[in-house]
């Protein structure tokens, strides 16, 4: 099996094993992707017109700005909510930790659509949140189809990514480290801030990157739950294709979205190496 072949010979053998997959990905992934780039400068006519439009007209810039802002808010919310949960999981006894893990992984695996639908029920005008308002004698504000509802739902949907990233690093922190810090006289809040947080930093960066990137391209939830007046990039791209068949314009937006995503991932890759992101 591990005969030492000449380097060139063994490279050839490896490439033969990889070749079917690479050919497949080239034909059914890279070519369609390239087609987006081509359409962005060729549909309906050749030129960089769509990009000029995106860079100059207020609508596109506002959509891009909103998208980035939303992604940022969702990422931070995920961190704020995810850290305590991951910390509690890491601190819990094994049985309880396993049960908590089951809840998080079940959420992780449940279809985006199901979770989006659940938030429609929760935040709907005849849902439990509205009931709660009226029970206290208030009229419920319009929660559904607002930026609030889509942000809450996206946070909920992406939260498991953050929790799993954080749990991975928190679990690996040697339990003796916080203990030895405590034995040296550090109060618990100091231990968390100066021992646990720095050690968890890779997981935090990991989680933030994942959530941010996924949120940038989010389509389903903003469309179903968000305000039609405050769309995100993915929604606008879809709308331009579905309603106006404006492939060129949609493709140009798609290229901008892809470029933004790749820039974020590229920064991560340079610092940490991409293969760790989904590890």
């Amino acid at each position: 099996m591990s005969k030492s072949l000449a380097p060139a010979q063994s490279s050839l053998r490896s490439w033969l094993l990889v070749a079917p997959l690479l050919v497949f990905l080239t034909a059914f992934f890279l070519v369609p992707l390239a087609q987006v780039a081509v359409m962005s400068v060729s549909d309906p006519e050749w030129g960089l017109g769509h990009y000029v439009d995106i860079a100059t007209d207020g609508f596109h810039l506002r959509v891009l700005g909103d998208t980035f802002l939303t992604a940022l808010i969702v990422s931070l919310c995920c961190l704020l909510l995810g850290f305590p949960l991951a910390y509690a999981m890491a601190a819990a006894p094994p049985g309880l930790a396993a049960a908590m893990m089951v809840v998080v992984t079940m959420s992780f695996w449940t279809s985006f659509l199901v979770r989006t639908y659940a938030w429609m029920v929760l935040l709907g005008s005849r849902g439990p949140v509205a009931h709660l308002f009226s029970w206290f004698g208030f009229t419920a504000p319009e929660l559904l189809f607002t930026r609030f509802s889509s942000t809450v739902a996206m946070t909920h949907i992406l939260l498991p990514y953050m929790v799993l990233s954080l749990y991975g690093v928190l679990k690996r922190i040697e339990p003796s480290l916080p203990r030895s810090a405590a034995s040296l006289g550090a109060p618990p809040s100091f231990v968390i801030r100066h021992v646990v947080l720095p050690l968890a930093a890779p997981g935090i960066v990991n989680g933030l990157t994942l959530v941010f990137v996924l949120c940038l391209g989010f389509y389903v939830t903003p469309i179903l739950l968000g305000s039609p007046r405050e769309q995100m990039v993915a929604g606008v791209i879809g709308q331009q294709v579905e309603e106006f068949l404006a492939f060129g314009e949609a493709s140009a937006m798609a290229v901008v979205l892809l470029a933004s995503t790749l820039v974020v991932l590229g920064l991560y890759h340079r610092r940490f190496g991409l293969d760790r992101l989904w590890g």
Binding site: M1, S2, K3, S4
Partner: protein
């Protein structure tokens, strides 16, 4: 020696074409012999084993079994039983299934294979555990299954790659005896790889000491212990005192050691007066002299470590560090910080070539 059964001839291995993991190894093994490859990690012993097993291809040289070259035979046709360091038992098969595997690969009918495998499990004392999976067995039991699996197809050669490394001390000693018993009974030619010199001493017909990708010495255990070929072997096999000696009259076996004075050693007919060499004294060679003894000297005792049956004295004679092991009773009265007399018999000394200039 009788007609060689396994022969390694100028065997060499290089992974990158420049540096060598193994330099021109030559070795002949007789049929039925129990050979131990002893050496630290990276010494070449495991590389040699991998070449014999066929998991690595030799860069140069030949491997012959019974006169026929197997150098280019792929591993699955070499007919060599191997017990791996972590046993490498197939987790999806029972103990019996593991032992039957090589027979099934040789197309033996199932009933016959099962019968033979059961007999082999019986031989290693695991008849009751045939239906267990490896994860349901202890380390020692897994080790026996691995041994049964490596032997069941009557291999031309048995290779054991540090098979006892993962076991605790008591179990290890029991299994050493067990492996020897089974190996003798079957008469299978065996190569045992270890970095543990006491294991090597206990089990082998011959020990082959590896270091730096070369064989440093090959010989019977006591020969290697008493007459090491060089300082490396002297240090690696057993505890040692290595003292620089200047010969004053080699033919009469007289010399001088700094800190101890004039000493008597076995006669050195090949050397000349004024030659420098290294004197090897095993710690247990020392005794407390009664009366006027030869090779007596004074040592200041720095530390005494009692083991019960024996005690290790660590001290200095002049500028020279000395480690001496005395019987437990004899050492009981010796206090740290005192000065005592020690002596040794000339025949227990061995002279090595002088250490190379470093």
């Amino acid at each position: 020696m009788t007609k060689p059964y396994l022969e390694l001839e100028n065997l060499a291995k290089s992974y990158d074409g420049r540096t060598h993991a193994l330099h021109s190894v030559n070795l002949s093994v007789a049929k039925g012999e129990f050979i131990t490859f002893l050496g630290p990690s990276g010494s070449g012993k495991t590389t040699t084993l991998m070449l014999i097993a066929g998991f690595e291809a030799a860069s140069e040289g030949e491997i012959r079994v019974n006169g026929a070259s197997i150098t280019r035979v792929p591993p699955h046709r070499r007919d060599i039983g191997i017990v791996f360091q972590n046993y490498a038992l197939f987790p999806h098969r029972t103990a019996l299934g593991n032992v039957m595997f090589p027979l099934q690969m040789r197309k033996m009918p199932k009933a016959m294979a099962a019968e033979k495998a059961r007999a082999m499990l019986d031989l290693v004392g695991l008849a009751r555990f045939a239906e267990r999976h490896p994860r349901e067995m202890s380390g020692g039991q897994q080790q026996r299954v691995a041994l049964a699996r490596a032997l069941v197809f009557d291999p031309a050669l048995l290779l054991l790659d540090e098979p006892l490394g993962a076991l605790d001390k008591n179990l290890r000693e029991g299994l050493q005896i067990e492996i020897k018993r089974i190996q003798r009974g079957l008469g299978v030619t065996t190569i045992f790889v270890t970095h543990d010199q006491s294991e090597a001493m206990a089990m082998s017909d011959r020990i082959v000491v590896f270091e730096g990708g070369r064989i440093q010495q090959a010989g019977a255990p006591l020969e290697v212990y008493n007459r090491p070929a060089n300082e490396f072997v002297a240090r690696f096999v057993g505890d040692s005192n290595l003292l620089p000696i200047r010969l004053t009259d080699p033919a009469a076996g007289l010399g001088e050691v700094a800190g101890i004075g004039p000493v008597r050693v076995p006669a050195q007919p090949g050397r000349q007066a004024g030659d420098r060499a290294t004197l090897l004294l095993r710690p247990e060679a020392f005794g407390l002299p009664n009366g006027e003894a030869i090779n007596a000297f004074r040592m200041r005792v720095g530390a005494v470590v009692h083991f019960g049956d024996s005690a290790l004295l660590i001290g200095r004679a002049g500028e020279t560090d000395v480690r001496a092991r005395l019987p437990g009773l004899a050492a009981q009265g010796i206090a740290e910080g005192t000065e005592i007399s020690l002596s040794w018999s000339p025949v227990s000394a061995h002279l090595l070539p002088a250490a190379k200039e470093s």
